[in-house]
């Protein structure tokens, strides 16, 4: 539909945050959010892969629609995402070894991040054009990073708290995520346009 770019960006960043409202990318969200130092690079790496995946998916979708090969969409998306992760890894290793050292270990994890495939699938389902798709992936990545960083900073702080042993671990992360999600509900309606 005719959503403006700023609407899409605000929606994916805040109101329909990928992690906190759409539950995309939860595995890394719960797994890698233990330390602030790793959360930010992970978020940036994911955003970057999302952008690449979104570009590829856009082109691929044009191609598949032109040849009426819709049934190959899922399989080709996942293959493209897996190989673009590989490609990003190789390019990074060659041209920016420092960045590679910082992000390298997260890249393979991103292949099975449902947020990345989610970007590709949702932009197709919503019939976004090129600019909309790019904005969607950027906003999604930024939203993922925001949620990850917030979560990591909270969890780091709670390491000093005497959290009951029963609650420690994933349950605590989930409750924190629930509270963050509750907080983000306050953004509902932002960017709705009067």
């Amino acid at each position: 539909m005719n959503e403006s770019l700023s609407q899409i960006f605000i929606a994916t960043l805040l109101t329909n945050n990928f992690v906190l409202a759409m539950f995309l990318g939860l595995c890394p969200f719960l797994g890698v959010s233990g330390r602030l130092g790793t959360a930010l690079p992970m978020g940036i790496a994911t955003t970057f892969v999302m952008l690449v995946a979104s570009l590829c998916a856009y082109g691929l979708n044009l191609l598949l629609s032109a040849f009426h090969l819709d049934f190959l969409r899922l399989i080709s998306y996942i293959v493209v995402i897996a190989s673009s992760v590989q490609l990003v890894e190789m390019v990074m290793k060659k041209y920016s070894p420092a960045l590679f050292r910082a992000l390298g270990i997260y890249l393979p994890l991103i292949t099975t991040n449902c947020a990345v495939l989610g970007v590709a699938l949702f932009q197709t389902a919503r019939d976004y054009d090129f600019a909309q798709s790019l904005t969607f992936s950027l906003g999604g990545g930024a939203g993922f990073t925001l949620a990850l960083v917030l979560m990591a900073s909270l969890r780091e702080r709670l390491q000093l708290a005497n959290v009951p042993t029963l609650v420690q671990g994933t349950a605590l992360s989930l409750i924190l995520a629930g509270l963050l999600s509750l907080t983000f509900m306050g953004f509902a309606g932002l960017g709705g346009g009067e």
Binding site: M1, N2, E3, Q7, A11, T15, N16, S65, F71, L72, I75, A188, G189, G191, G192, G193, E194
Partner: protein, 223 residues
């Protein structure tokens, strides 16, 4: 588990053969599934569209898909062309045109609110709406389905097209609860203003685009 094995690489022709084998198995499976479910899916989609259209245009018995473009209207085949607007023409069992249905969408409280509205070509007004999809707050936003008073707005919502056939004579507008005066205004639901406005904006946008293209060609619609 992963004992350090001496580096041994599989010859690339073996890799290619295996991948080819796997790919062909998968290809066969997908195509088989696609072919065998195609009819059922098309049938399901048709039933779904019919059910939605019949709800907003009571008395209809048959639906066909059309597209309106600046150069006229034609039956829809394949994708909707750029600048075209998709709509449904509904006929009663005798084959007479019962009305037009089209989709409208507006940004609501949580996400896009998508509705289907029924348009009567005689009175040039909207005579019913149904929700296609929405994620509004249950208990508040979903009043647009349940609130009888609100649905009365769509008994005969005026969407006449102006003489130049360029836009609606009066834009559809959402007004504060209890202040509806004109037939082209929608009386908002108290406490669910955001969702109501989304519906109003969506209908206005869609009608402004579709009706000027459609009205000059209504006579061409035949079952």
């Amino acid at each position: 588990m992963n004992e350090p094995t001496p580096v041994h690489t599989t010859p690339s022709n073996k890799i290619i053969v295996t991948m080819g084998l796997v790919a062909s198995i998968c290809g066969v499976l997908i195509v088989a599934a696609y072919e065998s479910t195609q009819d059922a899916i098309a049938n399901n989609k048709r039933i779904m569209v019919e059910r939605a259209v019949f709800k907003v245009l009571p008395g209809a018995a048959k639906v066909s898909e059309y597209v309106a473009t600046p150069s006229g209207i034609q039956a829809l085949t394949g994708n909707v062309p750029d600048g075209g607007v998709k709509f449904y023409a509904a006929y009663d069992s005798a084959g007479a045109l019962k009305g037009i249905a089209a989709e409208a969408a507006g940004k609501g409280y949580a996400d896009m609110v998508r509705v289907l509205y029924g348009y009567d070509t005689q009175c040039q007004c909207i005579i019913g709406i149904g929700v296609v999809s929405m994620r509004e707050t249950p208990g508040i936003g979903d009043k647009i389905i349940t609130d009888k008073e609100f649905l009365k707005n769509f008994d005969a919502l005026d969407v006449r097209v102006n003489a130049e056939m360029s836009a609606l004579m009066n834009a559809v507008k959402v007004v504060k609860h209890g202040t509806k005066q004109n037939a082209w205004e929608i009386d908002a639901i108290a406490g669910a203003t955001v969702t109501t406005k989304a519906v109003g904006r969506g209908i206005n946008e869609s009608a402004q685009k579709l009706l000027p293209l459609l009205v000059p060609h209504v006579a061409e619609l035949k079952p």
